[in-house]
Symmetry: C5
Subunit: 339 residues, 5 copies
């Protein structure tokens, strides 16, 4: 579930963001504590080795190695690579969010353009909306691991009421080596055309409005599918990951406190705990975690989109809107500003 | 309320922006003075401690610590992290502004397409516009703290004339575990369809124009809701905040003036007041404040959007446009260029 | 007036851009020469003071101060802050340009869809276009200082022929605490609806085409208004300005030529004229001037949009198009490729 | 074929991206191993030469040369140039993906708007969709090397069933010095207009819906063509390539381990294997490979778009949708939430 | 003419981009060789002067000057300024490309919606398309130097068959102080309205489709005009040019090889040819050349858009499409997948 904190930062206040530092759910600490422990343990182990186990000559060699690593750690362009990469990931993530398929636009049109309060009319409207919801469910199943877990087979889809047994038969009867998530849209178009012939949809203007809106819905679906199918090229992700991992590997050795008595420049002080290196670990590894979390927003991270909730909400709301609320209107009364 | 200064910078003049440095409302000083005082007091305290309280050996140790901190302060990539982050926040903020829902497009259509100057016609047009305004109010209540304070319950919504008692009953009667801000749009669609049947809306072309425009309005509403619901991932905000705070923590110690007589490189001078560090505090903390202010533009900051004003303006203007001004036309006269 | 130089850079030639360095209108020299003189005078004054007035001990102190300032000048992230900020300003500036309201799309539709070559027909088309131009004038008055100077009161608007006396009376009669620039659009809608009823506009398809186009025009107007109303947050502009000003303040002292005989590192040479510092002044201050010029493109800078010209052009052209040219057609003849 | 790994990164886990480092297909290793071997061999050769072949004086000269190269290697702005360039390439690549022409929107419209279940109706719908697929094939042939290999001549297009022999004759009969991929769209328009006259398409609203959708399809096609025709300017690509190659050339000499006994600063240690330089090779050359792979996504790289698959899928699905599935509808039944 | 190299980079291969380094047309070498020679000659001249002409004391002074210049050369933020500026230029360039006006969308509509195979019908369709092509020609004349050279006067436009003599008379008869490129669109609208009245265009739906498409074409035209009219502010271009030129001026002196025997740090080696400085010249000057080439893509550079070719292609293709191909249809036959 998305971690919403916007109400906490509505106003810019005294050290406004510091409150955010204390949250646990969806926080950097929760995401990073395991990596942090590994890093700290390795650092400590190397430190112990250097301080206690090595002989004098080995110490001298280690000191040179440490200085060498430190010098190169600074040359690794982690900041830039991460900056460009995370910007890319965040843009993709947000585009996926704004392209989540919501049936609301369609349900308004269906409710106002598909007429008839009798059972056939109700069935017509409900079926149209069900097809819409069915398509988005089929897409979500291939995009989201959480949805796939909930609907591992078509049986589950039928059971959950998104599809009737007849529809399923027809659907599976259709021979095609390709994905068939577009099939319910064909049914939608055919059903709408039939309703137009029967006069339930008044004219071509109303019909084309529906079809246009349906095609918009389809575009959202296929865009989501596209984001899942064609990710950021693997090479790019590998380059960034390698850069960050290498940096921390270099830090493990290069940021050790060396014996201050040896007079290495910048090594006058032995603090035991490399506070700034640990903080740097938080920045960079945290920045990479931003990417890890957002690169596939349909997983089960704290900050991922609640697709299962969406699916339920959409079916419930769209059936409500086109059936129970069809032509239901509050009595028109003069508002209080009527003069 | 938004701080408008564009008229002050209409022309590029001699040191054009310096006048902006002297404003108080919405300024960096107003936003930062408390943090600045804290930072200055801490810096001074540490300075006093170093100068007056520490013994010689402690001073030597502190000096080493200071140099160590200074060296790492420069390695913290505050500039980049802030640059990328603030760019993201500013883009989101502006997108929220351009997606504020304004009823103007709809009211032009309602005024010209929904006919009838009798009372029923007036009521029809007023009610349609009221539904539109009601929806945006429901969205604003969940998005903006300022609006929520003004309309804490549905009673306040009814009292303010956005909803009649009947509508409220129907609205609350509707059983759904999900948000119901879309309900007035269903009413809008149903009412428009009814008006079409009664001939108040002439044909499907006019009706679909209205429905398309209504759906556009809905998209604005739901996008605002989306921006509130799915914020910038908490991890990203934490990473940036940590980087900035760490930087200033390192500066508190690392930017102390050390005893010039000790000959530390870059410490030849004791100015007592670390003028450049204080200015750096203004840049970086100010930059972060930009983000804090814009990350939720629906709060009560000096620079936040005036949502309560919007709500009032929209209701007043849209009722005026579709009722009093319906079919009101100035007498057509030849303009002065008529030859 | 915009400074157009694209024809000068049509082809990439030998040192292609050097010709641009010699222009005066809209140039960096014209914009910056005053600031440059101030900077140079201050630099010289400090230089004289150091060389002639200070005693030996004071000189030593000044030299330390200079080195201190120089060191911190380099830490101020002017480049980045300016890069991100100017990118933001340039994007906003261009968006404002592409959203300038042009009546051309509407005038084509009015000319082809509003029929009747008699006087009433002519009046109808002229009045419709006049309303459109009136709205953009009302917007420009509140957005552009140049237009406001030309039309300080509604009297001037009436005199210039954008509004008749009757319209003005109706306009001012309307009681509303809010801006009323949308009123002419209501008139437009009402007039078009009336024309539809009279058969001057053939059917709803033609009418809705006109209304859609009008709404597009309105969106341009309100977007311009939005850009003026909600500028870049003051804090951001202050942060950038502070950074640049501080940098130059630090340079005034830190970039002085110190006595070469004292052997300060990097101070082996006394050139008297700090050529690179002056050039740096041109880069950074020039970059900031880009922002100053573009942050409000409706002023009277050399590079600002020529709004007054737009207003005249739009009225003249749109009346011409819908009246004199209505149904005027050159005789159709076979073109020279007719076989 | 695109390398999909999004399911592997659905959740942010312990060292989440490390699993990606172990993939081979589409990986940095597969793309870079040849360049890496060349680089390593050259480095080793120079190292041997320095250690074993050179005389004392030659060694001293080489050492100076190495230090000189190292100093300049750091001045080459590889990071930035690559950052800006790769961002540009990635944006273009993604835009090409979202503009791949899919016939789905059109096939829904054709299925629901072009009536008649008799043979003529079927033929009409199939032919319309075939024209659409034919156009995208013609575009793909000139854009994608993979498709061109499969369809080297128009014979292959006819054989594959995208075109009939008659159509081919007409197509080739048409004299024009320009590309003719737009011809099937003219046929589409003519055929649709004919169907409208025959009453197979009910009215102009339905017809214009089809034409609008066809024009959208055409825009996708021509945009793809545009991306292929007007690439990133050659100069830009050359600048970036030169920067990266120069950097590695400088590294070959500048990153050699020099004799530690000579006391060159930063050369206290002889590790034989320049681990960080090799890693840097992976970052930068890998980053450039990202660009190489994406600059033309219609080739046969592991990560390129599967255009041949698209072509087959589109023909198969669109014929299925408009023919076999035309007016096929599952029996409407009450869904399980019917109360 | 655009330099297309995408087929050369279809697959990522061994040192994939190196082949691009060997091209001449549109290459960095062709664009830069003159500047490069100037730079090299100046560098050599200064080098000779230093080595052969100067006396000992003058040499010492020159050496200090060189070190001074070198130090400041590194402070000039060429990389960033260029990065941000070139990104801006490239975006504008690409937007101009995707907004080139193509008549294809219109010609499909004209061919399918304007009926009549008799001479009047043919004339109608040809004239409509000619007006469209005429407008784009008028725009291209004011935007592109290449087109202006080909059509310096309206005589040339008439001769080339874009305009008849009658049209020209009417066009020039029209009194307006403003540009008149919109006039053919008024004719287009009037002619279409007349055709609607005569029944050649069936109904308002078809007419409005044409008008909408025409307005889209007009927007492309005016956007091109806007890009030409309002360029990147001169100041920005000057700032960037100054930065680059200053950098190279500083390099001329600062990158000289100083006498190694004097022991200046970083000057241990005399290579005579400053290989890295020359390469840096290629990067930065090449990057600036990217901007020079793209800032006005309507010139006659190797990489500029082929506007004259466009104009010919558009006229030829659009006449062909609406006349010869009007209602021409291949005989419908069953495709090979018909079962």
């Amino acid at each position: 579930m998305t971690v919403t904190y916007s109400s906490k930062v509505a106003n810019a206040t005294f050290f406004g963001f510091h409150r955010l530092l204390l949250k646990w759910r969806g926080s950097i600490y929760k995401l990073l504590y395991r990596e942090f422990i590994v890093f700290a343990v390795l650092y400590t182990a190397i430190s112990f080795m250097y301080r206690l186990l090595l002989t004098g000559a080995q110490k001298r060699y280690f000191e040179k190695l440490s200085i060498y690593c430190d010098r190169y750690a600074e040359q690794i362009p982690v900041t830039f690579v991460l900056g460009f990469y995370v910007t890319l990931v965040v843009n993709r993530w947000w585009n996926q969010f704004v392209n989540l398929p919501w049936p609301d636009r369609l349900m308004f049109l269906v409710s106002s353009s598909v007429h008839g309060s009798d059972e056939h009319g109700r069935l017509l409207r409900r079926t149209l909306m069900r097809y819409v919801n069915l398509t988005s469910l089929l897409i979500f199943r291939s995009v989201s691991t959480a949805v796939y877990k909930r609907f591992p087979t078509m049986d589950h889809v039928v059971e959950a009421g998104f599809m009737t047994a007849d529809e399923r038969k027809l659907f599976e009867h259709l021979k095609s080596p390709h994905l068939k998530y577009w099939v319910p849209f064909i049914w939608f178009g055919n059903l709408a055309a039939k309703a137009r012939k029967e006069g339930r949809i008044r004219d071509s203007v109303d019909l084309q409005s529906l079809m246009t809106e349906m095609n918009r819905f389809r575009s959202w679906c296929s865009l989501l599918f596209g984001y899942d199918w064609v990710g950021i090229p693997l090479v790019y992700t590998q380059v960034v990951t390698l850069a960050v991992y290498t940096f921390f590997f270099a830090c493990l050795i290069g940021r050790q406190f060396l014996d201050p008595t040896k007079g290495y420049s910048g090594h006058d002080l032995d603090l035991y705990i490399p506070i700034f290196t640990l903080l740097q670990f938080f920045f960079y590894a945290g920045w990479l975690k931003v990417a890890e979390q957002l690169i596939n927003p349909f997983g089960e991270d704290d900050d991922d989109f609640e697709t299962n909730w969406c699916i339920d909400r959409n079916l419930q709301v769209s059936l409500l809107a086109v059936d129970e609320m069809h032509m239901s209107l509050p009595k028109m009364k003069k508002d209080i500003y009527w003069d």
